[in-house]
Symmetry: C2
Subunit: 338 residues, 2 copies
């Protein structure tokens, strides 16, 4: 090595030193310091530092996130259900006979009290009708079109603006550390895929959701098509979450985030693996900035997104961390400036 090369090496070393450890930026600025933030930072550090005994190879770095109530607002009703209810009006234009058939008749009446009282089997009929009978491409376009204008009743914002800033930071932080971020949702897989890439930076192949049947065929011009069918292939909720994870990913995640009893099995499956594992649950305890519902910890009961006392107790037993929206997040939405 001659002196010239030494000089260059020296410059490179100085340059690298000047941009790395000295200027460490907080990757989770909308998280208050506390146990929740610390558990995320610690987990990522011990699984990615090369000299860590709990190091996880990059190919194995999988983290899964429930969507409704974990990444974005799920109250007063799941966005997909609102989409389906509004979609009934579009369907009725093509099929006017729906006006005389329940439960469509009730939905078309616009009677909010009656709609709120629809039974679960009735809602299933509405979902099946609204989510099938078109090509996968047509469905994707319809959902995107609806999301471009539909607004949340309380916040008067697009639904896609109701993602939690602290969770967006978590998604980016995991990805910056070589983790593949997956959504694992009880919502329809195709519904969530329509916006997950734009809204969360999560591509369609990293969305695991409730799977409706699709049927290959040809249109009238002989062009191959995939038509969405009113048939349930996988209910990606509770035990269906680890099942969906195996079907689509085929690896056990190292970390999982959820917010209800529907996520319990995903967290159990994730944290039962060897090595460092992370299980986290968002508790909605901030009625002022978002919503407050449990019924864990004395919070009001809820039909949408139930965080039971049993889940709260299990979290403690299993070493899962409960995230308090009220105490752990200094900002909730991108537009909700401090």
């Amino acid at each position: 090595m001659n002196r010239g090369t030494c000089a260059i090496s020296g410059l490179v070393v100085l340059f690298v030193a000047s941009i790395s450890p000295g200027q460490q930026v907080d990757p989770l600025p909308s998280w208050n310091d506390g146990a929740a933030k610390k558990s995320i930072l610690d987990f990522v550090r011990v699984t990615t530092a090369k000299d860590s005994p709990k190091y996880v190879a990059p190919a194995e770095r999988i983290v899964t996130f429930d969507q409704d109530g974990t990444l974005w607002v799920e109250h007063p009703m799941y966005t997909q259900v609102i989409y389906c209810l509004e979609r009934v009006h579009v369907l009725a234009k093509a099929k006017p006979e729906l006006k005389d058939v329940e439960p469509f008749k009730t939905v078309l009446s616009g009677d909010k009290a009656a709609i709120a009282k629809l039974s679960f089997p009735d809602l299933e009929k509405i979902l099946a009708a609204a989510l099938s009978g078109m090509t996968v491409e047509e469905f994707n376009v319809e959902v995107k079109k609806w999301l471009a204008t539909a607004k949340h009743p309380r916040f008067n914002r697009l639904y896609t603006e109701l993602t939690y800033l602290p969770m967006q930071e978590v998604l980016k932080f995991f990805r910056a550390n070589g983790y593949k971020t997956y959504i694992v949702t009880g919502g329809g897989q195709d519904f969530v895929r329509a916006y997950a890439e734009e809204v969360y930076g999560i591509p369609p192949e990293q969305v695991v959701g409730t799977m409706e049947g699709i049927k290959f065929g040809y249109d009238k011009d002989g062009k191959p098509t995939l038509i969405k069918e009113p048939k349930l292939l996988l209910n990606d909720d509770k035990g269906g979450k680890p099942e969906g994870i195996h079907l689509v990913i085929g690896r056990r995640p190292y970390a999982a985030f959820g917010n209800t009893a529907g996520d319990q099995e995903m967290l159990e499956y994730t944290t039962a693996g060897a090595g460092a594992r992370l299980g986290m649950l968002v508790l909605h305890d901030d009625a002022t900035r978002e919503y407050a519902y449990g019924p864990a910890n004395g919070l009001p009961d809820s039909k949408i997104g139930t965080f039971s006392q049993a889940l709260f107790d299990d979290a403690k037993k299993n070493g899962w961390t409960v995230i308090s929206m009220k105490n752990d997040w200094n900002q909730i939405f991108m537009w909700d400036k401090k």
Copy 2:
């Protein structure tokens, strides 16, 4: 910029120039020059050159490969079927009563002629028994263990040594150009996942296959488990291939490789998309180095991996390229030196 920085920049430019365009290596050395090789090189060039009107963004770059007969040998019988037949002997140790129950009785008799005559429903019973009743982890271990010793009857090599070198080059070439390589196989998804990463560099989440049901539950120690069930969720063959692609990937591939009528719908779906698309079919016309079967183009008929004359004609009509093993590949296996 001072003179020192200029000198460094100059060195870097010289260094980069010395390793790139001047030393272009053929990415497909076991392919003879011809239409097949050219169609692959041209497709990758026009979809990845930034200034190409047919440029495809990296996130959209998906290429799918059938496995049996496209990436590795499928004659005289699919590897997974051989595994299942041999597995019956293991099952009979735990359940001796199988010795008196057909079709297990025939398999256990070792009578090769009788085994070869087993009906399709009988084979389905054998597959269901051999591929279910254990956790997904146990199954993975069993398959790996079997593949470590089981040998092909003609080549006397491990099955995992019977991948086609030209196709291994294609996989690497696509990946080097930012494509995500997926296997889309009629074989069991979990069976292929057990070796796809080691054998092809394809991770579990990029294997789409025939999906058997799995059931979440708990073992006697209360540990969460996923048990494989004898239930067909998706038959990933023919129209099931584009359906499986949508379920797991959620994007239309830009290129697809297959070798039988079971791959036709995948190629139709792939090449019906806008922009540059590539459809390719491997024709087994080399009885000396591998096998020869069609019945397209006057080749002998086959029950395993049928390349019909109709498919051969459709390929021409649809602009798909037929790969002749005999003429397009100068080497077939890694160990089969020229």
